[in-house]
Amino acid sequence: MILESWSIALITCSAVVIIFGLVGAATSLRLLKHWNLGSDSELQIKLEERIWLVATLVQFGLVVQIISAILFIYAADYFATVLKGAMCAAGSLTANGYGLPALGFKLITIFAGSLWIMVHRLDIGSEDFPYTRLKSYLLLGMLPLLIGDGLLVVLYLVNLEPEIVTSCCGIIFGDAEAGGYSLLNYSSETTVVFMLATISALILAGSLVQLISVQSPKRAALIVSGALASSWPFFYLLALGVITVQVSPYVYGLPHHRCPFDLLHYPYLKIGLPLYLFLHVAVLAGLGAATVRIISCVISGSHHVDQFVRRSSLVSMSMVLLFLLTAGWQPFAYMVYGGQ
C-alpha cells in the first residue's frame, strides 16, 4: 500500500530525516578529522560554525521524527480499516514483520536524538566544547538507525496488502496459555506488575542516590548511574507491557481489549495522553541524567553537569510517580467503586 497518502507522508518524513542525518554525519566526519580547539585557523573557525548546523539538523530532525512516529500510529489505525482481521493499529502493525520493528526504530531514534540534544546543551554551555567529538560519534552511530528506520517503513508499506489476514489486539497481547499465541508471551499478568513495581522502586532509590550524592567519587557515580542507565530501558518496556495488559482493559472497560494504541484516541486520550507523556518524559530525563553523569566521569569539562543531573533526576522521579499514579488510577477505581 505504498500508493496511499499516509505512505507518501511517512516516506517524506523518513526522507527528510535521512537527508539531515547524512548531512550531519558528513559534517561530523569533518569535525572528527580536523577539530583542534587550540588552533585559530580558518578551518577551525568554520568547524565551530558547523557545530550549529549539526545542532539545527538534529533538533529539526527530532521534531520530524516525533511527528513521523505519531503519523505512523495514525496510519496503522487507518490501515486497520482496510486489513482483514485488524481492529486497531496493533493488528496492522503485526500484519507483516516490519511494522513493530519500524516503530521500535522510530522510538529509539527519538530517544537517541533527545539525548544528543542534552549533551549538546551541556557542550555549548562550556567554553572549550568538551563533548564535540563525542557528539560526532553519537551522530555517526545514529545514522544507521535512521536509515534502518526509513528502510523498515518502506518495507512495511510495500508488504502491506489488503488481503493479508491479521489478528486483533485481544489476541496479540492476550494470554499465551489461553489464546495459544501472544506477542508479549508473558507467564502471568501479576508477575509483570510485580516486576514493574520492583524496578520502579529500584529506579526511584537509584535516582535518589544520584540526586543527593552529586559530588560523589567517580567510581561510585559510575556504578549508580551505570545501573540506572541500564535499568531505564527495562522500566520502559515493562511499563509499556503493563499499560497494554493491565491498565488498558480497565480504561476501555473491556477485559479482552488489550491495546496500547487505542489509548491515543478520544475518549481514552484523557488517560492515554498523560500516561504516555509522563512515561516518556520520565525515561528521557532519567536516561539523560544517568548518561550525562557517566559521560562526565569519562570526559570532564562541563560545569553544568551537576545542575543538569540534579534537575533531570528530580524530573524523572516525579514523572515516574505521576506515571504510576495515572496507571494505577483506573484499576484502583474499579476495585473500589466497581464497574464503570
Partner: protein
C-alpha cells in the same frame, strides 16, 4: 526559566514578523505559491475523506451478504431454488432474490443500472435510499412501475412525463411508469439506477421465469456475518459471497490508492516548490546580509539568527497552510471538488451529481502538514544556518 525562554522566542518571532512585513511583496508571492501547493495536496486529501465518508454512509443500504453465481470466472444467473439451500442456516433473517443488470441506452450512450426486486412497493426494501414517492401510485397493467434516479430521468428526457419505454433483447418495447424518484442526496449510488419488479426485470432482460442474478441475505446478529458467509459458501457450490464489510474495505482501498496516486503525480510540482524555497532562502540580498551583520554586532549569536530564520519560515508556512487549507475547504464545499473529483471518482456518461460534504479530520490535517509544511521548513534549515554564519566584518 521556561518563562524567560518563551519570552525570548516571542521577541524573536515578533522581530521576524516585522522583517517579513518590510519585504511584504516578495514574501506574499512565496505565501501565495506555497498556498497553491497546499491547496492541491489538501484538496486531494479532503476529497478522498469526503468520498470515503459518503460511501460509508451509503453502505448502510447494502445487504449484509450478497451471493452471486460464478462460472468460468464470470458472474452468471442462477435459479431461485438456491434459496431453499439457505433456509436451514441458523441466524439468517431473510433471503431476497434480485436481478441486477445494465441497460445500454443507444440514444445517448449511457448505461443504466437496472435492479429487479420482489416487493417494489415496500419501502423497507429500499430503506435508506431516500425515495420521494410520487402521489397516486396507480399503474396501468401495461405499464410496470419503476423507481428511477435523477440522472436517468434527465437522460431519458422525461420532463414532466412519467411513462417511458426500454427495449427488450428482441427489440420489442417494454413500457414503464415512474412511480418514484430517488433523493438527490443518494445520487452517488442512485443516479443511474432503475428499480423495478423482479418479474419486470426478467422480462426486460429476457431471463428465465425463475432466474436471478444474486441473493441478498440479511443476518440477525452483525457479529455472525462472516461465519454465515462462510457457511453459505460451503453449502452453495460455485458462488461468490460478498459481505458489506468487504465492500466498504474495497471502497476505502480504491479511494486511498487513487488519492495516493494523485499525490504522487503532484510530487513534481511540490518538489519544484521546495527547490524554489531552498533557492530563495539561500540567496540573501545585500540588505539582508547587512541586517544580519548588524544584529551580530549588537550581540546576537548564531543560534539566535537561526531561530529568527526558523520563525520567518514558520510564519510563512503557517499563513500559507491556513490559506491553502481554507481554499481547499471552499473548493470542496462550494465547487464540489471540481478539479480533482474525476481522478478520484472515475468517469461515465451518467455522472453522479454528488454533493460532497467536507469532513474535518485530524488525520487529514496531519497528512497535509507532513507533506507541505515539514518539507518547506526542512528546505529552509540549511540556508538558515548559512545566513547565520555571515561575518559582520565581511559585510559592513
Amino acid at each position: 526559566m521556561a518563562a524567560r525562554y518563551l519570552d525570548r522566542q516571542l521577541n524573536i518571532a515578533d522581530y521576524a514578523l516585522g522583517g517579513l512585513t518590510r519585504r511584504l511583496g516578495k514574501n506574499l508571492v512565496v505565501v501565495l505559491v506555497f498556498a497553491l501547493v497546499i491547496f492541491m495536496v489538501a484538496s486531494f486529501s479532503m476529497t478522498t475523506t469526503s468520498l470515503k465518508h459518503a460511501a460509508s454512509q451509503l453502505l448502510t443500504t447494502v445487504p449484509d451478504i450478497t451471493v452471486q453465481k460464478m462460472s468460468a470466472g464470470r458472474q452468471v444467473g442462477f435459479s431461485t431454488e438456491a434459496i431453499k439451500e439457505l433456509e436451514f442456516i441458523f441466524g439468517i433473517r431473510s433471503v431476497q432474490p434480485r436481478v441486477w443488470g445494465y441497460y445500454f441506452d443507444e440514444n445517448n450512450g449511457a448505461n443504466y443500472t437496472v435492479i429487479g426486486v420482489t416487493e417494489l412497493g415496500d419501502k423497507t426494501q429500499l430503506a435508506g435510499l431516500g425515495i420521494d414517492f410520487l402521489p397516486n401510485l396507480k399503474t396501468d397493467a401495461a405499464f410496470e412501475p419503476a423507481v428511477i434516479g435523477r440522472g436517468v430521468r434527465e437522460n431519458l428526457g422525461l420532463g414532466n412525463r412519467r411513462a417511458f419505454s426500454l427495449f427488450r433483447p428482441d427489440l420489442s418495447l417494454k413500457s414503464f411508469v415512474t412511480s418514484a424518484t430517488f433523493d438527490a442526496e443518494t445520487s452517488m449510488v442512485t443516479d443511474d439506477l432503475i428499480i423495478m419488479d423482479l418479474k419486470a426485470a426478467r422480462d426486460l432482460f429476457g431471463l428465465q421465469a425463475d432466474e436471478i442474478t444474486d441473493l441478498l441475505v440479511d443476518v440477525a446478529n452483525p457479529l455472525e456475518i462472516d461465519n454465515i458467509a462462510d457457511n453459505i459458501g460451503e453449502r452453495l457450490k460455485g458462488v461468490r459471497v460478498v459481505t458489506r464489510e468487504r465492500i466498504g474495505k474495497t471502497y476505502r482501498v480504491a479511494f486511498g490508492w487513487r488519492s495516493g496516486f494523485g499525490l504522487a503525480c503532484l510530487f513534481g510540482a511540490v518538489a519544484a516548490f521546495f527547490i524554489f524555497a531552498w533557492d530563495k532562502a539561500s540567496g540573501l540580498t545585500p540588505a539582508q546580509q547587512q541586517e544580519i551583520a548588524i544584529l551580530k554586532v549588537l550581540g546576537w549569536q548564531t543560534e539566535d539568527i537561526i531561530t529568527l530564520r526558523f520563525w520567518e519560515s514558520v510564519i510563512i508556512s503557517i499563513s500559507a497552510f491556513g490559506l491553502g487549507y481554507l481554499a481547499a475547504w471552499i473548493h470542496l464545499l462550494f465547487f464540489n471538488g471540481l478539479l480533482f473529483r474525476p481522478v478520484l471518482l472515475g468517469w461515465s456518461v451518467v455522472k453522479p451529481p454528488l454533493s460532497l460534504v467536507p469532513v474535518f479530520s485530524f488525520a487529514d490535517l496531519l497528512i497535509i502538514f507532513s507533506l507541505s509544511v515539514l518539507p518547506y521548513l526542512a528546505a529552509t534549515v540549511i540556508p538558515a544556518w548559512h545566513s547565520a554564519t555571515i561575518r559582520p566584518d565581511s559585510v559592513i
